[in-house]
Symmetry: C2
Subunit: 380 residues, 2 copies
């Protein structure tokens, strides 16, 4: 275990670190060829793919071949609730999921493992975490997922259905393998190794290919899945893997939900979003306005620009203009931040409106897919 990246600890300091991860994990880069093949099917490409925030994959090239040959797939991802509400970074996989669901009209399964962070000792209050599980489910549904093709489940609620396949999966993985792949040691709780099996189980929900958009830190689960899937007559997991978002405090920092100076939350109002960006977002601009105009800014280390480029400025031409204008010092830090705040708010306002309106029960209990899944039983 050389990596500084596990599902519970992430230490990335540069683009070079991301390149190294590709080698270490044995995954492939998402390159132009792959994106062109996808675009042939979908007609366009989501900004998260175009800008390579999702930058690596395992088997996505083969999945596209299979898809062209008439094979089907389903989408699976998840979100582990913790001790605070969701920030904009947490939403990223679900935004791509929504786009994929729109393009391919496939089923989407979203796991909310309310035990994971508690077992990983990232939160000390299980009941509070469980409350966030419901909040998070609502937030996730608000990206615009199809209520009849989406099933959002909380592990402790859905355990009756997860447990039997987990019995099978847990039998196939030794503590030794788990340690090797995840890097934990004997001080970990007895829950954490077992949790691995629960995260693998939803890849068996359908007999077709499971496609999993997730942070690259989650890849170890699905590497293990690929070793055992065929024993259960199931397909190997296909992953498309993202980088990590920056916190407001600077490049390659963590957007930490427990630090409001680092995170923009999904339910922040416009004033708060604007205030946080103006006050806390690390700037790549000059030390003074004079210097900035003279020497220009550095968009590559500017957190506002990072966020525009990852997600919030979908117009490639416009982004290029901003990048160049900022580099030349023609756009000031204040202007860049102000623009970013507006773009973030456009996005959040939409989510917040959806969040009030959606019928969460459809996603969790009585929509078409959800009601099927409450009758689902694992059969090999």
């Amino acid at each position: 275990m050389n990596s500084k990246v596990t599902p519970w600890e992430v230490d990335i300091e540069s683009e070079e670190d991301y390149r190294k991860l590709i080698e270490e994990f044995g995954v492939k880069e998402i390159d132009d060829n792959l994106l062109n093949e996808l675009k042939e099917i979908t007609g366009d490409l989501h900004v998260l793919l175009r800008r390579r925030f999702f930058y690596a994959h395992r088997g996505f090239d083969e999945l596209l071949k299979e898809y062209k040959n008439g094979k089907s797939f389903f989408i699976y991802t998840g979100r582990a609730p913790s001790k605070s509400k969701m920030h904009i970074g947490h939403l990223i996989p679900f935004i791509l999921v929504k786009w994929l669901q729109d393009k391919f009209k496939v089923n989407v399964y979203i796991q909310i493992p309310d035990e994971e962070k508690y077992w990983a000792k990232k939160t000390d209050d299980y009941e509070a975490t469980r409350q966030y599980a419901y909040e998070d489910a609502r937030t996730i549904a608000s990206v615009g997922l199809d209520p009849d093709r989406t099933f959002i489940f909380i592990n402790s609620e859905y355990i009756k259905h997860l447990y039997k396949p987990a019995i099978y999966v847990a039998r196939e993985i030794s503590i030794h393998e788990a340690k090797k792949v995840f890097g934990f040691d004997d001080s970990a709780t007895i829950g954490l190794p077992f949790y691995i099996s629960l995260q693998i189980v939803p890849t068996f929900f359908e007999e077709s290919y499971p496609l999993i958009p997730c942070g690259i830190d989650q890849d170890p689960y699905f590497r293990l899945q690929r070793d055992i899937a065929e024993k259960f007559n199931r397909k190997k997991a296909i992953t498309i893997l993202s980088k990590f978002v920056w916190g407001l405090q600077g490049p390659y920092t963590k957007m930490s939900a427990s630090d409001p100076k680092s995170a923009i939350f999904i339910d922040d109002d416009y004033e708060t979003v604007r205030y946080k960006i103006l006050k806390y977002a690390f700037s790549g601009g000059g030390a003074t306005l004079e210097e900035h105009k003279k020497y220009g800014g550095k968009p590559e280390i500017d957190v506002s620009f990072f966020w525009l480029s990852v997600l919030f400025e979908e117009d490639d031409r416009k982004l290029k203009e901003i990048e160049e204008g900022y580099r030349k010092g023609e756009i000031t830090t204040g202007e860049l931040k102000d623009y970013t705040a507006k773009k973030v708010w456009e996005f959040l306002r939409n989510i917040q409106e959806n969040r009030r309106k959606i019928d969460l029960d459809k996603f969790m209990y009585d929509g078409k897919l959800a009601s099927e899944m409450w009758n689902w039983e694992f059969k090999i």
Copy 2:
């Protein structure tokens, strides 16, 4: 970890080994004082206690004190189904449980962990094991448990209720502690450490004292339980701990359900019982009838006598007569075996009749206690 006794491996070769286990596990002997105190309440003593097959305990003395002060308790034990049906040795804890339930009119909870042996790699076929789970539940109920005061549950069926408390319990135990107490290593499956939490959970079903009659190999679970019970406002587990039964093949051998020459099964008919005892039961008698009559037999190494003394001859005076007669050579091996076969059959016939008649659903789903438990929710 010095012990040769864990829930998955038992290596006992002498009474001396049993004495050593008492020290190693830090439990107490069940002595005359304790049994007299119990007898003051119950009026008499079950043969399994009188003959000290249950020979050690943890906290039972304190429980009796608390009981006299008006405190209540409940009984919990279990049976892990495996790759074959139950033999007479498997029934022993439940026989004591029935006696205790009759005397104290308390609730009894019986866990059937259908995942344990599969995770411990003692069986390779989970579906078959799961079928034995239902068979075993029926066999256990047949010892005469009270259908309104008994709840028998299969883990994979009842997991919805077990899982939330298991989330709490699993958080409190590290892999390190689990290894130290149970002696497994990193080659174990990721299911096995988590299973510990599931075996602890039923000690939290009521807020009163859990009393657990079980084989001494199960004590490690409840040692861990005692370290964490108070965090959940629950009482520390009280155990009364038995020795292990001998297989037909000789003293301190394992009665193995996978070897029909070693085991008498609950559903064996009289002819089979008699045949197995006559043909396979290790004898402490002389090599020839002549030598036996001249030098006498050794009841202390005779498997038939072992079984009479442990369970099947309840009359102390009669047992003494048999022991002396056999030692002197007045009773032959053939006579001893024949008598044992009759006594075993008397017992089995009764179980088999009950087994046909009982309404298993009452114990598992709709008896008074069972229906309460299907609405049970863990609250700290």
